[in-house]
Every structure is written in C-alpha cells, then in structure tokens.
Symmetry: C2
Subunit: 429 residues, 2 copies
C-alpha cells in the first residue's frame, strides 16, 4: 500500500481558475472556521508527495487496503474482446465504497485538531456511511444531513449510520435557518445535495467542536483518493502490464459525480499522459445530469445557502433539478473545478448513460464476474463495454481499468425496479 498521497495539482494541464468569493463572511472565512486547517493547506500545496499519517495508514490497512485489482477474464470472454479489463475493487471496503479512503483521513485530522463532532451531508448515503464509520474509528461523534427523499428511499443506509452511533437528520432540516426557510416555501421539499450542504455547513458553524467534511470535489479529497491511481499502477505492474503503450488506447474509466474517484484514479497518471503515453481518461456520467457532455462551462455554486464560493465548472445551472433516479451519486448539477478543468483542457473524455443501459451493464458484470456494483459504478462498466467494442472493431488490445467505486447490495431495489421483466429472466448474459 502506498504510504504517501500524490499531489497532482502541479500536473494539471493549466492553472486552477480563481473562485468567486464575494459573500460576507466569505466562503474562505467560513472554511477556516469549520474545516481542519491541514485540509485547507492540502487544497493548495505544491509538495509533490504527502506522507500519510501513521494512524491513517493503520485505519486504511484495517479496512482492507490495498483493495484488489481484479482481471475480468469471464467478462472479456463473454465480450469476445482481446482488451484486458481490470476492475479496481473499492466495493470490498467495509462501508461498500471508496468514500472511506478520505473519510478516515479527514476524521483523523479533525481529531488531531481537537474537534469532537464530524458534520457532513450525504446524498444516497455512501459518504454518510463512511463518515459514520471513520468518526467511530477516531473516537468522534457524527451528525449527518441526508437528502430527505434518499433517506426515505434507502432506510438501510440510515440504519447503518445509526448503528454506528451517528445522528442522521433529513434535509431540508428544521434544525437550521436555511432548512426552515426552504421548508416554509415548500413543506414537501424532497431535498437535494444543495439543501444538505447548506444545512450541514450552517449547523457546523453553530456547533462548538464541529468539523465539516466534504465528500468530494475539493482538492484535498482528490488527494486522499490518489491511493486509487497509485495502487492501480503498482498492481498493473504486478500483472506485467505496462500502461500507455502507443497505439493501444489504454483507458482509465470512472463514473463522475463529485469526481473524487475519477481524479483519484487518473491524477497520478496525468504526468505520463502529458509526457506522451497513449492513455485515455474517461468519465462516465448519468444522462440525468449530463454536465460534462451537455453542460456549459460557467461559474456556479453547489450549495443553496451561499456558504461555498462560485467555482468554474461544467454545469446544468443552479436551477436544474435532475430527474429522480437510482443513481444518487451522479445527480450533481455542477461539476467540480478539477474535473471540469481536465475536461475543458481536453485531457478527459466523457460519456453519459441512461440508468437502464448502466444497470444492464451492471447486471452483465454480475452474471459474468459475480460482482454486484453500485449503480454509479455500473456507469463506468457501461463505458468500458463501449471502449472494448470499439477496440475490437479497430483490432486493438487495450488495457482498460474500470473503477468499481462501490458495492450494490443496498441498491438491489433500484436494479429490480429498472430491470425487472419476466421475459429477461432466462436470457443469457
């Protein structure tokens, strides 16, 4: 397992655009209050390798890092492809998703600073589960604002957090001023990541000893996730693979919601690509919020309360409400600055899938490899199927690495609702 994170900010294809931060207090001042200091430093460091603190290493090892890199032989056979497809298996982590990697690190820094309560928001619940466990591992309390409609749709995730001792609140929340205002205007508001971020930040600002943790998007989150790309590099070498051989069209593929899994996977490989390696980075998004494929590059915010700065990114606009579907992790209206920059500079390709296509890809993976991934991760699988098909047409034999960002057991209701069809039951994969 890597013992340092890789800071890929110096390897970006251009400078990070300035944020617009005109509030009073400013978003920067708010962040200085609620965010552990070292995380703010990690957002802007130019140190290339950042040592991972020993307690974080211990926690990550205890949770099963390094995670396996699985060669998907049976899927390859089924596809009749000569591409070599590898799955980076974050689904085996104890909370069932890659989110745990940064939750453990952030909880450690919060505890080290003497903070006592972790406050955050969660959409579908994967991030909340990881914060609940990381809080427990660091001896902290956790208070988690969960998008109300997800809370109702996914009671199991709430049960898990509560079993760990976390307090889970629906968002919009009557406990915050912003939540009360939203509920006054619309008492049956289903909640969104925007409402939940606002609730969590306002609550953290008023709670002594609170640390507010971000689950995605921010550079420090992506830094912690560089374990993904670093482990993949080392594990591919163990398989005897060399990544980026000319003319082969090797691919690193991840789904993109907030984008930290994607950045964590590709970040450590940006330099090689810039140096001429034949390496493609591909983001798989949902047609429910197709920012990278159909959005505009513009300034915007992720919260409703004005607690965060405006950042430049591919966006559907602040008023965009993604249609409800089973892919909670990909329903952001605004792409993070990091992912957007990679896309804008042409370093990152993107493709969008509707949920049926993605879940069919997920089912195919289950039927061939025996692995049930979260709907979000199934979007990356769908992208890999297309890349493999194209390589077959071109008679190329690429290495394709797919990030299996999460497990799908708690999403079986979604798979069932989207795919249930009695006539399909006996069709071969």
């Amino acid at each position: 397992m890597p013992e340092q994170w890789y800071n890929f900010l110096p390897d970006l294809p251009g400078p990070m655009p300035e944020v617009r931060d005109s509030g009073s207090p400013s978003a920067a001042e708010i962040a200085e209050t609620i965010r552990p200091r070292i995380l703010i430093e990690q957002n802007g460091t130019d140190q290339k390798w950042i040592p991972i603190p020993e307690p974080v290493l211990e926690g990550l090892r205890q949770c099963g890092r390094p995670t396996p890199l699985h060669r998907a032989h049976r899927l390859e056979q089924h596809l009749g492809t000569r591409a070599r497809i590898y799955l980076k298996r974050e689904d085996v982590l104890p909370t069932g998703s890659f989110k745990l990697n940064t939750a453990i690190a952030q909880a450690h820094y919060a505890a080290e600073e003497g903070r006592t309560t972790l406050v955050t928001e969660t959409g579908a619940g994967q991030w909340g589960m990881s914060v609940a466990l990381a809080a427990r591992m660091s001896g902290l309390r956790a208070e988690i604002f969960m998008v109300r409609c997800s809370l109702e749709q996914k009671p199991y995730r709430r049960h898990y957090m509560e079993l760990l001792g976390a307090e889970v609140e629906p968002s919009p929340s009557p406990r915050t001023a912003i939540g009360r205002k939203i509920l006054q205007d619309k008492p049956d508001h289903p909640g969104s990541l925007g409402t939940a971020i606002s609730d969590a930040i306002e609550h953290a600002l008023g709670l002594p000893g609170a640390a507010y943790l971000a689950g995605s998007g921010m550079p420090h989150v992506c830094l912690h996730q560089t374990l993904l790309g670093l482990e993949v590099a080392a594990q591919l070498a163990e398989y005897g693979e060399e990544l980026g051989v000319q003319g082969r069209g090797d691919h690193l593929i991840a789904c993109s919601g907030g984008g930290s899994n994607l950045c964590g996977l590709v970040g450590p490989h940006l330099r090689a690509r810039a140096d001429g390696a034949d390496l493609r980075f591909l983001a798989a998004e949902s047609t429910a919020a197709p920012r990278l494929t159909r959005g505009v590059y513009a300034y915007g915010r992720t919260d409703l309360g004005g607690f965060t700065p405006e950042v430049l990114g591919y966006t559907m606009g602040e008023d965009f409400i993604p249609p409800p579907n089973h892919v909670g992790g990909l329903r952001n209206h605004h792409s993070s600055a990091l992912v957007s920059l990679l896309r804008h500079e042409g370093v990152l390709d993107a493709v969008a899938f509707d949920q049926r296509t993605a879940l069919e890809a997920g089912r195919l993976l289950l039927r061939t490899e025996g692995l049930l991934l979260a709907p979000e991760a199934s979007h990356a699988v769908a992208a890999a199927l297309d890349v493999a098909a194209e390589a077959r047409t071109d008679q190329r034999e690429p290495v394709i690495v797919v990030l299996a960002s999460g497990a799908g057991f708690l999403d079986l209701q979604g798979y069932h609702e989207v795919l249930a069809d009695p006539h399909e039951a006996l069709v071969d994969p």
Copy 2:
C-alpha cells in the same frame, strides 16, 4: 489456497449413526435420482484428501479465496483482553456468505454430469444467492424455493437471485403436490425450511435434467467447507500462532444452523484435539431453536414430504415452530447428524443467545472493527465475547477464531428493529 478438501469423517469420535430410511421410494433411491453421483460418494468416502477439481479451484479463486483472516485488535483493546481474536472473513465473498464454497463445487459436479437445472430451497436467502451465482458460473439454470415469509421480508435477496437469472418460487408452492396440500390445509402458511425442502425435492424429481443441491448438513457439504478450517490453520501459522497450546484454552467458534460452517471450521482440527491439543470447539445457536443446548437426541426428519431419511440428532421435535426472528439461518428444528454426533460425544460445546444479545455483539464488532456481519454470524461473535471474558478472569491468553460466516448489509432492517433505541445512539461501544 488449499487444493484438496479434507475428509474428516475418519476423525469423528464415533461411527455415524445409521439413518432410518423406510419410505417407498426410499430416501436413498430419491437421492440417487436427484443428486449428482459424486456428491453421494463424497458422503461416505474414506479417502483422506479429496482433490478439488480445477474448474472449482478457478471459481473459488475468482470469488476471492482464500478469504482474509483478520486480527481484531480494536475489539481486543475495547474488551481489555489478552486473548487474540481472529475473524475468518467469509463475509467478503461476492454473495456475502460462506455458502458459495459448496455451491460452486456442487454446481460443477451437476454440470459435469450433464444436468441442466439446479433446484434447491432457501430460508433467509443466503444459500439461494450462492446457488444462483454458482449456476450462472457453470452455465446452468436455477430454480429456488424460498420460505414465503422470508421472501416477503427480504425482497433484496430475491432481487439478487433474479438479477442472476434464477427463478424464485415461494414455498409452500402451488407448483408441487406437497405444496398444494399444505396450502389447502392452511392457505396463509408462512413456509419453513421443511416446506421448502419438500417443494424442492418433489420439483427436482419431476424435472428432467434437474440436480437437487443441499446447502448444509450433509457430509459432502461439510467436506467442501473444510476450506475454512484448512485456510485458518495456514493463516494462523502465518501470524506465528500455534493452535492448541496446553492450558491456554484456544477456541474455534461458529454459529450453528445446518452446521456446515461449523463442521468446515472444526473438521480439519478434530484429529489434533483427539491427539491432546487444548482446543475447544464451540457452537453458537439461537434461543429461538436451542437444539444443542436444550433439545433431545432423537431420530427426526428435516422435510415434511418424507423425501429425506430420519436421522439421529438433537431436535426440538418435528412439530416445533421457532418463533419468527431475524436469524433465519439458525431456525432449524433438527440438528444435522454430524454436528449432533460431535455434541453427543462431548467434542463440541454449545451456547445459545437471544437475538438482542447477538445483535448487540454484532454492533460492537461494527463499532470496533468496522465489520457488519449477518445476524447468524453475530451469534458466534457473542460467544467469543463470553470466551474472552472468561479467559480474562482465569488470566489465560487464548487464541479465539470466530467464523464471520456472512455479511450483514441485507440484514440492516433486522438490526434496526431489534436495536433501535434513541437513547443508545451516543453510547460508546
């Protein structure tokens, strides 16, 4: 990973009692029709080591064997024990339980014999999930009779099986004569393992190309599960542990429903114990069906249709209906012949837990080690806590191996219902 199964039948403390098989056709004749021949041979072989066929080895490796042996440092610290507690992590298998080990083997033998459909019963659904995946891996169809009340309580498990292409039928089933008869007498019959076994065997008898698979109890099932005890032995050695040191009171602990996980764990260690190793085997059962701690040693049957022979075992009686609880895997009314013989000969200790005590132990494991186990496995954890406490009193430092037989994500509703209590949310583990 071991490449042979260990046949522990010659190491049993006494001869296996005869079965009573007076039906017409006899249970033996029925078995010869519906069970792959090699499995019947494995029930009575005296060959010590049985080579695992190459395709089975490949399937097991693909599914992640060998599974990790996890040292539970944080749990030990919390308990203030000097016992060294290890968890054998079957929960990481892709179907979330140890059942997959024998499902892959049985599906292989069925396919090799030219059978085309796997037929079985399932209670809580773990066995059904494993058969559904193993069928797919061997290119076979699967038809699974699931206890009706479990089917209704646990829709996720049904969705999983169907996603793999399996046909799932409620039991009692209108598709069988025995099912129709039961439903005529009691149209709202909730089903039981007894009804489901009967449905499955009757259906398999009438279906050309069918193989009926047993998920537990039978010697061939326990044989396939000896991977557990063999891997534990090798992995403890890697940790530098010697098992069975005098005066230390080392323990191997598993929950006991049908008993195949227990037999698979302890079977390879029977000889060492007989030769004088200080090694204790402990079965954790549910107070909902406390056969080993409160049952009588008598002949009885597991099905209602008379398709299976009467076997000698610890039993609550054929009319016993266990109270409904969230521990479907431990609600058998009759213990298997193998487990019962070990118990009767004094080789096996047993202890029963109510579900609240067991699920509290499961919650403690989650809060310390970050692992959420199935309610059945949490019974084994509860037993380990007691063993560790006793060792502390006696100032012993035993090695305690707990079989983490399954994962608990699909049981979160049960954990929630049993443990939900707002005042507990902030209590430290």
